[in-house]
Amino acid sequence: LAKTTQPISMDSYEGQEVNITCSHNNIATNDYITWYQQFPSQGPRFIIQGYKTKVTNEVASLFIPADRKSSTLSLPRVSLSDTAVYYCLVGALYGQNFVFGPGTRLSVLP
């Protein structure tokens, strides 16, 4: 299973764009990259998933370079409610055996 590395913590201010980069040097050909968000005492919530290039949904964008050894989650115009832990995961078939690292603790300040 590919291991991921991401910053332990980040601070931002309301209204700013936040970019969280994740390294996954050993990603396999059939692995997808998935990001989850978790608030205290709640289960993780799916944010976005991608395989290559760029994926955008209503809450975030995911940028994946051609070599797929890293990815960047972009949160546009964050608000206080975006304060949470963000996990970057790689996985493939039957990919529920995700290896969760410590994640990135994002603090959004007023």
Binding site: F46, Q49, Y94, N97
Partner: protein, 115 residues
Amino acid sequence: DAGVTQSPTHLIKTRGQQVTLRCSPKSGHDTVSWYQQALGQGPQFIFQYYEEEERQRGNFPDRFSGHQFPNYSSELNVNALLLGDSALYLCASSAIQGDRNTEAFFGQGTRLTVV
């Protein structure tokens, strides 16, 4: 759609006892995975069930066992509880489509405290 539901939400047990946690997957999902999340850490994969069988297992001792029922709901059993088993236990469900899983939906978890 109720999403993934877990019961109970909180539980206190004594060391050495046994516990059973329950999970109902999101409608349309047939795969259930269980995770253990200690305070301040990321979730750790315990095992995954599909078609009523354990398909994959993480690095957890045999004290941790599970079951999946024909309606896709699942149970996690932990025997001989240790203080270190105190954690948030998360259930995640998904469906297998082609060669991969759909996105996983997590429940709110069961907070287990062992005293």
